[in-house]
Symmetry: D3
């Protein structure tokens, strides 16, 4: 259950409007790596978590914080959309304005009346498919760490796409929180390992004796790049706690080319079982 | 440029048909974490990679291997679809068959004529949006490691959903390769760090002095779960190589509730600028 | 900014597991008219609202309540997924179980490990495109009222699809809140009208004298159903506060068939401008 | 069954080409609230309608009219695309042209050869998910009324985005028909109520005694906006025909925090049942 | 402009309900190759057609006919959904019923109240992206011919998935019309060629001298299947009216491996330009 | 199984960067008719092909070649994105630059760090739904021929949208290969016919005596365009090898308007079965 306060976690006020940047800012709101993803993902992982205690509590705490980030970015986009030009002639005072007009998202005006929406910078609506909640915390925390890396990377790029100090203040806050959250998920993975809950290879509980050991430590090289096998991934000790050595080998076939049986004739694939019309043709040919 | 051989990297032959499992197997072919995702993702990251040498070569090598995995799973699904029942009465020999009939994907027959397709187990088509290629290798390798974890997890679950030895042989191979590939991406992240190319927080090249230090090491708790701050993520030294300490604090507001200006009256939002029809109403009221 | 408490707004505990119903319940979680839609929609309308005061405050209040509904349905689905059968033989104790096995969503197990996800009952991921926030409160409240009607209708149908008392208790709560919320949005529309902020036709501020009056009060009948014009919509006084009368007329053409000019030859549409290869053919034919 | 005439219901001829506006016009063709949605939605509601007579006849009549609107907007877009520039240098006569070039939809040229397509102004393809046909006419007519409000709102905004008189003539027609259609659906809802077919709360046939009366008339306030409960929705008589009073209360929890049981170990969630590999590690540690 | 009559082009009445088959029938209503696609596609090609006369007239005539097919399939699905079971116990009279229950689409009941919707048999909503209208009639007629082939193939498969005589009567009609329409599009392609409007290679107006002749008649073999070059496509005269001969060759590289320059450091890709934090690390290392 | 070489099949090096054209080029990479579609489609058709020999071998050969085309276009887009402006002021040296800035895809920079992605020119992610593999080779080869026509058409249009010689060299190569591939699929269709594997109407094996002969050779005219029946499709001998004649007739109804029975009252459609609350209202009215 949630309660809401109108006060913001951090200020979200640009120096001035910028509909071009408003569109770009949508990427970190409703894009694959935007705040909608992390907010709803951490909450879902938390609600679905079948292990009571610190991990579940932490997931729900940070998911709730991320809702506040969604709120701030929506507010920022709303303000960037003030006074957006409705026609190109209105945009035409400078070449910079013409360029910015060309980049603006027309749905911001036509569909949302100068408001944000749950889409990315190319107008793709946010999708529940962006969210992963596998029930395996190690795999999910790895994804969460990635999300904070990709997210911070995008905010860092946006930082270089604007000179507006108000915008930069909010980006600064987001960059800092993503910095913290990267540490958070990496720490949580370490703790899962320390608590004996999972490890490499995830899921560790799958019995290794069911694997094929000859494929477990070999980098398979299927390309002619000369340096593919010169990295750590093909040399040195295994990273799964065993005393195996990583090595490399070219790709090789271990099974013959497959031969599929003919399909069910009632599905009319190729090859068909000759139907009456083909028979008729055969008969006609014999006349 | 690619060349193809008809021989398979590994055998993909079930003991017998099973249209229910054919549907489930689609998840690791065309689902978010399936082989289509990793094959096309590693190739795209490799092609886009602006750093020549071992990382680029490795990406193209493994992406090419993953294409062979797509091929094997397609072949397996094709064979699982042999003799699929076209009507429930044909499925009705046992309750098990009735249950399996209920689960089968009708598009496998109607649209594909007993063939695989690029979709997941619920019929969602595979999407290019599943692929991430950010240009930042550290962030992308973290995603790749996640993909191998989520992928191995799904295959391990499928392992418990079938008794078919032929199917299990292929799953065994996939589990083993995902085991190797988890190590591969973790090793590659270590190597990126060792090569000075990136580190925590990603992207490391963003100047930390632009951040707000008071938010960089604090776990913010926005929920009432009592154990949220009892993990490593809120205690002990920072994980970014600095000598800061991680700590915790309840969520707090740092800005007032936002007040947005009225919108452009030409967009007819609320509040509107009173138009003529409203004026007319006012006049009528005064009569 | 939000805070979260682990206690639930209402109980969400089924009498027993039911993976078939877990799939159906996804419709009111992640379907077009599910709780994800109303929660994120009311919040977005609230954040984007440019009129401070009661409407904005109310939107943020109810949007926050709806987040608690998302949480309860996720929890209910999680519990309905306990002990879900992994294979049809396990499901085969009764024909009822076989039927239920056939209906279950395999991603609930393969992708989510017995957890809910943001999808509808056919596995379509929830989409940001379900959310409307036009900036015009009258139009949006009308949509919100619809959402509560469609939502209550779906929950009422689910009510007849289960005998589980624990499930029915939660449905009872949802039905009651949707009852309240229907009243809420209809009351809010009345209040917008009373406050002079908008009315029929929405947006009222668009100057009526720009319209074509001959088309404003006529039901146009383009089909041969004999009773199409016998309803209130083609008879009696207008509903927009004017003293016009509604009437009916068959559909009629008011413009000639359009004739489009040829396309740009550089786009190679039909008709093309004859290129050299066609000329060459003509020359060859003349030889 | 349908018949078609080449003559248009209304003129669709711009004064001149404008590829920027052609893109914007796609919103009311193939967007969520565009003519494709209302045409196909009213027809589907009509075909699915299980009550013969005026409602069914009316739905099929108006759905058929809306097909003519699709046709006119397609024609308009085709003409706005005449002579569209293929390169920026061709667009470069004025800054206005440069701005317009930046906004044009490149698929209009590359994929459609100067033709319209079924997409919105950001290029999202029209989706069957936009269409609602619930089988409950009251709920659906409420959605239809909304569609005409959102649609008229978008056309009114487009009105302010162009100075082309030919375009404005068509927009004028669309604004007028949406004015009529808003009245139509509101009248139809009144008639459903008068005919005793449904009412608030929809669906009225669900037995109210199954509800929880303490939640049926209370606005629940989950945010700190001071005015949330000062509107009609929290004061005065109920809107469902009963003699209850609307009131307000802060959000409160009515159930304990949920505790989920551990998952099936065969799904490898967290917490897992310790598998052999973990056991082995434990053994190794004891050596 | 369209008019509608309630009478059907052909009967659409099953002998009895069958919710399993209702779901399957959705494939030819709202699937990629269903009637929604051909109806809206032929109309769009007709409206966009810039060549007045027989082709445009024919497109609009057949598109309008296809709308009647949409109507019939919707009607059939509605009737197949009568008396659909709401729970598995109601389905449990026979194993056949249990199997059918497992296959039914729950949205047919929850969202549509026993009605059809614009989706395919796996619940994917129909998409405007299924529609192609390129402005080049030859390319589009080729697609139309394909659509009638894929469509007839799917209906022929459905034919073998039911024993219901009423359903088969409608399928019979659809099979026959698809038979006619295959001829129609092939005839139209011939006529386009005869009228000198286009030909192989499409678009014929692109000047062949801009091509690279050494690649225009060579089947390039990139796989080791021994028979790949034994077909007509690698032997015999060209099919484009020239007197070239088709031949085959193994795939070969014609350019060096690409080397991309480093990215813009403001985008924080790999390799980055060392930022201050990396410099600091270097300094620290030198201490 | 595949192997990869870093060398390219053909050169992919523009004379200079052009982020506007980079976006447009995405259409033939990740659009419906782009190289991703044909590569993955031909491979899937090949893997699913149940007829060993020349057709299967050919499909896998050409699918593998198309992967090399994906690689070249990705490389081209990467290079076109070098030095892309991050802000409009940087774009503002000329009006041409301003126009180009307006057209660029912001995700190319924010999400991909100057790299290509699997999307079309409007940012829609590539979809597995673009791929057709029906199991019927004739129907699929017809689709493949279409894909090469639509693809070549789009490349020919792009040819006229750039003056860059390096870009034009790659387009030249793609135009030439699409020329060859059109011939290839048409030749393969001829060969299927010659081999007696299928023919018109596809699928030929469906028994024609199940059809309704009166509908098999009649062009049905549902529009008032005067020339609709003047083409080959309504005149002359049938194209299916029979000695029937094609003819034309206006559309006509062959069945009465459908009347659907009332729905299940437990689904609360209209008409409902009067529930208690309505009864109560009636009672109240009688008081």
């Amino acid at each position: 259950m949630f309660t809401h306060t109108h006060a913001l976690q951090f200020e979200a006020k640009p120096d001035g409007p910028d509909p071009d940047f408003a569109r770009k800012m949508q990427e970190v709101l409703g894009g694959q790596w935007g705040e909608m993803t992390v907010a709803t993902q951490y909450l879902l992982q938390g609600w679905n978590c079948r292990l009571p205690g610190k991990y579940k509590d932490m997931l729900l705490a940070i998911g709730t914080e991320e809702l506040a980030h969604v709120e701030m970015i929506v507010t920022m986009i709303d303000r960037l959309l003030d006074h957006a030009p409705l026609k190109p002639d209105a945009a035409d005072r400078t070449k910079e304005a013409a360029a910015g007009y060309g980049q603006h998202n027309p749905q911001h005006l036509i569909a949302n009346g100068s408001g944000a929406s749950y889409m990315d910078s190319m107008g793709n609506p946010w999708s529940g498919a962006y969210v992963t909640a596998s029930g395996n915390l190690f795999a999910d925390f790895s994804y969460n760490a990635t999300a904070e890396m990709q997210g911070r990377l995008q905010v860092a790029r946006l930082w270089n796409m604007t000179d507006d100090h108000g915008v930069k203040d909010l980006l600064r806050f987001l960059l800092t929180r993503d910095h913290m959250h990267q540490q958070q998920w990496l720490a949580a993975m370490e703790e899962l390992k320390a608590d004996g809950l999972d490890g490499i290879p995830v899921p560790e509980a799958f019995p290794l004796e069911e694997e094929l050991p000859e494929f477990a430590y070999t980098f398979i090289d299927a390309s002619d790049g000369p340096d593919a096998a010169s990295g750590r991934w093909a040399n040195g000790p295994a990273l799964d706690g065993t005393d195996n050595q990583l090595t490399a080998a070219p790709i090789a076939a271990h099974a013959d080319a497959p031969i599929l049986p003919p399909g069910d004739p009632r599905l009319f694939g190729t090859p068909p079982v000759p139907g009456e019309s083909l028979l008729q043709k055969a008969k006609d040919a014999l006349k």
